[in-house]
Amino acid sequence: MDMIQQMKHLKTSLESANDGNKDNKQQPQMYAKNSMDRFGDDLCALIVSYLSLEDRFRCECVSKQFQRTVFGSVVDITLNEKTLYKKLNYQILTRIAIKCPNIRSIEMKALKSKYSVESLKVLDIFRDNCRHLRQIYYNFRKIIGEFESLITGINSANENQSLDRCLQLSRLRVNSLSDVFHISSADVSQQLLAKNLHKFSFNYKSSDNNVLLSAFVAHNQSLKSLVIVMSDENHETLTEMCGQLSRLTQLRELNFNITIMNGENSLSDSLRTIGLNCKQLQRLTLGLMTSCEQISDQILISLAFFSRLKRLDLTLFAAIDHKSLEPLKLCHRLTHLTLYLHSNDINFEQISAKYLPRIQYLSIISPNLLIKNKALKAISKLLTLKSLLIMSSSNSSSGSGALSASIRFASSFFCHSAVMTTSGGANSGSATNSRFGSPISFRANHRNGFSKL
């Protein structure tokens, strides 16, 4: 919507700036119906706004209309090592910046810190030519200097001296919580360097005591998205940490990856505290590395306190009891559900239109699980489903046959677990994300289910 408004303004400004340009709209008869020449500048600009940056430059000399319209809608640019140092130089970047004056946001988060000097020069170029530049997603903090006021995101940081001068900072990823504190050993005081963030990601380490977390939470009540990776903390630390997190009442998204070896944990109580207090929470990603069935079952029980969730992504490494998914029945609002399970006997009675009336995306990944015909039939009745991904060991032709028969799939979408690499702990967050891009995901119309595929 925004883009269209923007286009319209752009068109007006282009017209006034280019007096004497033919206005296609005035004389539509002049152009063949099958020629794109018939479109006015505003519609042409709207269409080419979906091109990649390279395609835009490649198309610049298609026609004068393309030249006029192809760059105005470039609002963000991503610079990584490949584009920046193998293909581009300062001269080319300057030309890009001049041609795309509406760039608002630059993403450089994948750039290595050895390029910090060059990246400053690059930022200079874009700041001088793009008046609307107001977001920079950066990878390192060294000598940000004059750009501090434009930095909105930092991807990883080792030096934190200037963090508190980035007043616009809203997204931050750090290695450990202590990275956002200036800790003076002389007087044992700590100064918090990042406040009022929207997105935050960190690895919880035992050295980060809960005093730091408490100070962080107190000054970051605005937090909407949080990613935590932690391993084997004792019961008290975990309980206290979750208690602190439950004060983040604006939280929309929580990604919690935890490794637990010791069964003496009350993770379900801790999660319940979060579920009860963080009422805005809509998206939960839970990755649990444990071989202990009890803990997995406990976690699932606590889901009953997250009934407002729209998106749930659950990764469990322990085998779970076939009834453990019961609490899912209470999560009626789910639109996206991903289950990564290591169990061989689960009945999926929770996966039905009755309990999941809004489900659009369903993904079940379970290396050892044989998904039964009954479950497949239930899935085929989820008429709201747009996208389905099932990976399991099941190569039972009768199984997939049942599903494809009832939903008329042209191709099979079962996958043998052998091709899938499993990962956990610190990496399970990204593994979870990458699965989304799996080639065997199918889209169907949300309303007519799969019958129209």
């Binding site: 063949a32 099958n34 020629s35 479109f39 395609d55 490649r58 026609s63 293909k87 407002r308």
Partner: protein, 189 residues
């Protein structure tokens, strides 16, 4: 936000929309053809929505056809457009918490939309896009734009011109100069 967290949001609204779509209105193409369309579906067009709302009562809306005067709104284009809105009127609303503008723009078209927009007759395709633009159906213009851009992807200027029947109004010198300026695109990775 906090308030609607306690009831399942939008259920009532969905029922109203479904009810309203049972009301059929008439749309008249620039060629004179009159076609029926569900009210909720037709209101995906901001132009039609505004016209219907300014007309007021349902009685007028269902008897008198709404005239779509733009020449791109041919019979064939209007039939395609009605097919699209009748399929999409009950799409779930955009979830602003998770889907930002950028992601939506980069998202691939659904299987159904791809088949819908892959029209052999380019004059009809352009009619549908221009008519959707005139009728202010943003979702459909986006489908058309993504389709055209997917066809442009990776092609040379000349190939793009041939495919989309675009007149080259640059002189050879001008074209050469632009090519030189943009030579970096062709550099090997």
């Amino acid at each position: 936000m906090a308030d609607n967290a306690d009831h399942i949001d939008g259920d009532d609204n969905e029922d109203v929309r479904a009810q309203q779509n049972l009301i059929k209105i008439k749309l008249k193409s620039s060629e004179g053809g009159i076609y029926e369309c569900g009210l909720t579906a037709a209101k995906m067009s901001d132009l039609v929505k505004n016209m219907v709302e300014s007309l007021g009562t349902d009685a007028v809306v269902t008897t008198e056809p709404i005239i779509l005067g733009n020449e791109a709104v041919t019979d064939a284009a209007l039939k395609k457009i009605i097919e699209w809105v009748e399929f999409h009127w009950d799409d779930p609303p955009v979830d602003h918490d998770f889907e930002d503008e950028k992601d939506r723009r980069n998202e691939e078209l659904s299987h159904w939309d791809k088949q819908f927009i892959d029209v052999d007759d380019q004059a009809l395709l352009f009619d549908v896009i221009a008519a959707a633009n005139y009728m202010d159906i943003k979702g459909l213009v986006e489908v058309g734009a993504k389709h055209i851009c997917s066809k442009i992807r990776g092609k040379s200027c000349q190939e793009v011109r041939e495919m989309l029947k675009i007149t080259n109004d640059f002189t050879a010198e001008e074209e050469d100069a632009i090519h030189k300026e943009n030579a970096w695109i062709y550099a090997k990775d």
